[in-house]
Amino acid sequence: MNADWDVSSLLEGMVRDLRPRVDPEQTAMIGIFTGGVWVAQALHHALGLNTALGRLDISFYRDDFSQIGLHPQVRASDIPFDVNGRSIILVDDVLYTGRTIRAALNEIFDYGRPASVLLAVLVDRGGHELPVSADIAALRLNGATGGQIKLRGPDPLRLEWLAAAPGSVA
């Protein structure tokens, strides 16, 4: 199935959809570690955004922290611009339950009050558990169940469909 997914053409589609909604002088972009940062780097470059790319590690904001603890490798979030009043494109690789996006929004608001946040993802695989939807998605797999979709990278970027392992949830 993943043979059908050409990540570079998916990214081109995202760039096409994003371009009319972006002002390269004003719009800022934030990628969510790890896959979201890879996607954001490609988009940021293609769109020619002037503001340096932001990176978000949402480990301290996860809603399942008290069940599963801390991710073994936490990276430092880095937002190298003033969030207040800014139009932001939030980028992740795969949108599934929506919990990561909720955590990311909470963290962004601890940096300031953005004018707007637009969500762009490579894959929206459905199965949302929260009222979160992507404004831009290169691939929509509504109704796909089981297994895990994972972006491997950073070079080259490959989108993989992993068969469901017992008890594993993305």
Binding site: F60, S66, I68, G69, L70, R75, A76, S77, D110, S168
Partner: protein, 332 residues
């Protein structure tokens, strides 16, 4: 186990049966990967202090008790702030106002607090082994962090020191570190030595008068010097220790002046070490005794950075211990 019989090597209940770090009691016996995870996680918390909202929701709904049987400003306030920045609720209990002065035992005090559904204890106590005693008593039911027990251990101080060295002097595997002063009475020195050796420090030196350096240190692979000039030669990092004036009643030193003349860090003596050697001090400083003001306020001193780093390191320790309480290291 009574507090009086406690000594180093009496076992280490900081890991549970599945090998998860549940309490932080000493740097001795800490696995390297756990130590590194604390330091790496602290790097992430450091940047939070630069944001407009200096808080994360990580420990929302948890209650942490600061149980301090000894005075402390820096350690207690950084632990309090660390817990608050993680959105925990904090209860501060100072021994002088607590019921222990009415004869209640340490365990009774802890049990009463547990009946209030608290989730963790940060404890400082004048007797070695106090935090271990509480950790053994509580097991998995709450986390325990040792914030200094007698002359035994002060693990978060040592962690913030190695964090500071790693950040400002580079990889510990390539640095010569000297600990100077009253080693004998110092829980900080003991915890530093264990943390440095776990991280692969190639040469750890201790420098101090014969009466203030325990002889068994050589067996830990530590190089012992009784002459400051010889000891500082080629050193990249100098960890000064507070001279425990209050513990000097046993006449181990002729006078504070004598100590300063032989072991006090002055600008001239600093030149015996490497040109840009870092100077650390856990505070509070005795200016003019173990460290001259010109050194304490000079550009090689990183004493205030240590305080900022201490906050991030304590946030990391609280997060990792509270996370382990939730059950796992495995992640989807």
């Amino acid at each position: 186990m009574s507090l009086q019989t406690f000594r180093l090597g009496d076992g280490n209940p900081q890991y549970d049966t599945q090998g998860r770090l549940r309490h932080l009691l000493s740097t001795e016996g800490l696995r390297e990967r756990d130590l590194l995870q604390i330091l790496d996680t602290a790097e992430s918390f450091l940047s939070i202090a630069q944001r407009s909202v200096k808080k994360t929701p990580t420990l929302r709904g948890k209650t942490i008790v600061n149980l301090f049987f000894e005075n402390s400003t820096r350690t207690r306030s950084t632990f309090e702030l660390a817990a608050k920045r993680l959105s925990a609720d904090v209860l501060n209990i100072a021994a002088s106002t607590s019921s222990t002065s009415k004869g209640e035992s340490l365990i009774d005090t802890v049990d009463n607090l547990m009946a209030m559904q608290v989730d963790g204890f940060v404890i400082r106590h004048p007797e070695a082994g106090a935090a271990h005693l509480i950790a053994r008593h509580l097991g998995d039911s709450a986390l325990v962090i040792n914030a200094g027990d007698g002359q035994h251990a002060h693990p978060t101080q040592a962690l913030l020191d190695v964090f500071t060295i790693r950040r400002l002097a580079g990889p510990i595997e390539g640095r010569v570190v000297a600990i100077v002063g009253d080693i004998l009475h110092s829980r900080v020195a003991r915890s530093q030595i264990h943390a440095l050796s776990i991280l692969g420090c190639p040469e750890i030196r201790v420098i101090g008068p014969r009466t203030l350096v325990p002889k068994e240190l050589a067996s830990l692979g530590v190089h012992v010097y009784h002459d400051l000039q010889a000891g500082l030669r080629g050193v990249d990092v100098i960890c000064a220790l507070r001279l425990q004036k209050e513990r000097m009643e046993s006449h181990r030193l002729p006078s504070l002046d004598e100590f300063h003349r032989r072991f006090g860090l002055t600008p001239e003596r600093l030149q015996w070490a490497q040109p840009h050697a870092l100077v650390l001090h856990p505070g509070p400083m005795n200016r003019g005794v173990e460290i001259a003001s010109e050194v304490a306020d000079g550009n090689q001193a990183v004493i205030l950075q240590q305080v900022s780093h201490g906050l991030a390191v304590r946030m990391a320790v609280l997060t990792l211990l509270a996370g382990a309480a939730g059950g796992g290291e495995s992640h989807a």
